[in-house]
Amino acid sequence: MPDHNSANSYCLGIESTADDFGAAIVSFEGKVLSNANDTYMPKEGGIHPREAARHHAEVAEKVLAEALDKAEIKPRDISIVAFSQGPGLGPCLRTGATAARALASYLDVPLVGVNHCVGHIEIGKLATGARDPVTLYVSGGNTIVSAFEAGRYRIFGETLDIAMGNCLDVFARAVGLRQRRGAPFGAVVEELARKGKKFVSLPYTVKGMDLSFSGLLTAAVQAFRSKKGSLEDVCFSLQEVAFSMLTEVTERALAHTEKPEVLLTGGVAANKKLQSMLEVIADEHGARFCVVPLRLAADNGAMIAWTGILAYKSGMSVPVEKSFVNVKWRLEDVYAPWVEGQ
């Protein structure tokens, strides 16, 4: 059995829910020793699950070796293996799970299944020192406002249709933008938005605590095609409306729960405009604003490794034969006993 608090105990975390294959080594004290990654870049269109899974299988060996090299440890030094068990794209999840099961069996160490959404929250807390935040988790696949209550991360609000990141991605593709390695669509839109001047009116859809982005996406694409403004103007307006919606709902949760912190996490957390808007509401409510660092914002192995450690320390692990992936695993279905003890 690994020593729970030892700096010499390490968790290997494997992340493969969508287009990223990540592997990381994190020590049981919460030090990220390595965080290797390789992103699947589709030639056109969005993520094709089977193609992304093929990519993950191809790069797995390289990424795992890189994680071990950078951490300067040997496979035998690994105490537990954690993997993202869901939610996500089935073929991608299964590729990561297969690698994790094989390694855990070969090394004869415990296997821990981690909920991807919990991973984003926990790594944000670890990196920023937040203890009990209202979290806005925004990425290509998820848009969730959450806060911890009675053993679980409760969902206070979420998207009723597409995710924030997905909205930006589809918009960018529809208006002919291209993403580059190191500059995903969100970053490209953000860059253009900074040059926008004219506000083009777009639908603002908040339903209580929930959000809807599909109408906004359609209207933004139409605004560009009907030349209601330049591409820069439409990017600017799209961000203003979408981020105002996110900020309003987060503020609502903050007013309701009266938590001491606001945490921004997930891939879209990299957006400076969104950061500045949330910072305003955190200040107004006397809450500390925390944002996950850029290197831990997008999907990564470190968040899986760290959450795996937290779960394992609470006595949670999964036998290989029961380690099925769960593509629709909801955040609030995860019992998180480690949070209250923190």
Partner: protein, 212 residues
């Protein structure tokens, strides 16, 4: 002017207005929004809210009396409702009272929906239990007019979610009582339809285990 509630969307001030204890609802500019969008959202909601509060009264649902509306400043002056937020009360009353209260809330929601009013923010913070046992619905800032099934489902879905997140110990029984009260107002057939809609909305929510 005393600030009594700083909400996400508006702030409430307690004020003396012509020797009356009143609430002034102020939609202050939000610093995080650009002025164009900010003005649009604030003035739209200031015009819309008193209008729909009046419609709710016609439907037989207690709401505050509106005294004055100032669109340019985005201010509404309305009656101060004596009582306690249901949020503060629901977990601390007897089981019987809890079910009665939930059923009353359900009946009121039913009346709103029957008259084409969607509240838009059915949380227990927005319901005030008066000393006379009435539940007064406040904050219609996100409300809309609709007879469609979809927004009714979303409305009740939020109610359910509020119970699950804020009153999780009693969420199940409370929501059941809400729906039985709702059925008293709108009838069994309409309740069946909206219940199916709520299920559908839950399944539509991302990553629900039994969706596929």
């Amino acid at each position: 002017m005393v600030l009594i509630k700083k909400g996400a969307e508006a702030s409430l001030y307690l004020e003396n207005w012509h020797n009356r204890k009143v609430i002034m609802k102020r939609r202050l500019p939000k610093k995080y929004r650009i002025p164009e969008l900010d003005l649009m959202i604030r003035s739209q909601r200031t015009i819309h809210e008193p209008h729909i509060i009046h419609k709710a009264k016609e439907a037989g649902v207690p709401t505050p009396t509106i005294f004055m509306v100032d669109v340019a400043e985005a201010n509404i002056i309305m009656e101060f409702v004596e009582g306690k937020q249901v949020k503060e009360v629901l977990d601390h009353v007897s089981p019987e009272e809890r079910l009665n209260l939930s059923s009353l809330i359900g009946r009121m929601i039913g009346r709103l929906h029957k008259h084409g009013i969607i509240h838009g923010d059915l949380t227990t913070s927005n319901m005030i239990l008066t000393p006379y046992g009435k539940v007064v619905f406040v904050d219609f800032g996100l409300s809309e007019r609709s007879k469609e099934l979809e927004p009714k489902g979303v409305d009740l879905h939020l109610m359910k979610r509020t119970l699950q997140s804020t009153h999780y110990k009693h969420a199940k029984e409370c929501f059941k009582a809400v729906m039985s009260g709702y059925a008293e107002a709108v009838g069994k057939e309409a309740t069946k339809k909206v219940t199916a809609k709520i299920r559908e909305i839950e399944k539509r929510g991302r990553y629900v285990a039994d969706r596929g």
